[in-house]
Amino acid sequence: MKFIDEFRRKDLVQAVVRRLRELAAPAVIMEVCGTHTMSAARFGLKSLLPEPVKLISGPGCPVCVTDQYDLDKFLALGDQPHTVLASFGDMLRVPGTHTSLEKQRAQGADVRFVYAPLDAVDLARREPDKQVVFFGVGFETTMPTTALALKSAGASGLDNFTLFCVHKTMPAALRALLDSGEIKVSGLLLPGHVTTIIGSEAYEFIPRDFGVPGAVTGFEPLDILLGVEAILRQLVEGRPRVDNVYPRAVQVQANPQAMALLEEVFEPDDALWRGLGVIPGSGVRIRDRYRHFDARTRFAPILAQVPPPPPSACRCGEVLRGVLPPKQCPLFDKACNPSHPLGPCMVSGEGACAAVYRYER
């Protein structure tokens, strides 16, 4: 595929790996994005890095950082008559406290998986006797598609479509992570596709306020190695900044159309992250003019009856903060595995535990 195959070329990978060896110094580099985690694991990139350079996973798997309480609430709506739970397929097997979308479906709930949020709106149009609730998970990459879905539902005056919004935004979460001082990272591989929407300027605070290097990075093997190279180079030079090693897709400025769309539909809000708790300004809520489509409002009486989840043995939270490597979790490959996942990091296609289980065990 064009713009993919070229960025997997072995001879070029070898050239960058040699360059990395010249720059090698002890460094802990966090791949912020779950898609990076999976790509790095799938292509065995960790084994290509020089010994003192470590890659660790961060909080950028949207499925993983979705809080258990939010998931439990969404799942509870599946018990309502004539209700369709619509979701991206990524959520299928993520365990809630008592059930999952997969189990709900097996027990007769109407669960549908969609490729795009607009498909869920089409579903609502086609089946006016059903209430379609879409679980809006994802970062800035995904938020514009959900915003379009709300606009489309609004334009059609639909009364049977709502969004259960659990969208989260990346910069505030990165600031919280760095602020906590819990983990010492030498540099951040920043999420390329989030950055197509928000622009690389959104990360200027990282070198400025924390002295930490960053590299906006694409998702093919060469992209990721170039991101590592950029961070090592910044460390050697002692000049932290935000490099853009994904210039074929990413610009300094945000996409103005995307920003206008998000501004119209959403407003900033605090958000609850699994493992990170409530982070001020790291999420969005639906603006008043689209409140009609807010599942949290429409189904408030039902949602209020869902109890907060009890403490769990799963340590996904620490994995997402980069504090606990998956293999050091006492549950890993014992009580918790892809057939019996105890938490989202083991079941999500981009979860750090799933990546290690599948490729690095």
Partner: protein, 73 residues
Amino acid sequence: MCLAIPMKIIQIDGVQAVAEVDGVTRQVRLDLLPDAVLGDYVLIHAGLAIAKVNAASAEETLSLLRSLADEIY
């Protein structure tokens, strides 16, 4: 979740478009890229084109990499 695939725009009708990769086509939306034209490669995420792929920039990266590889061999 943040996966996006480079696809080529082969048909445009307002904000609706058809994009193609390896013979697979699908309906996509161009709301974020008002100046996209036929033949452009765009990154598709959940049915929405989120960015144009800049071919010149891609080539620049690759040519840097090739010169790095040539230095070695």
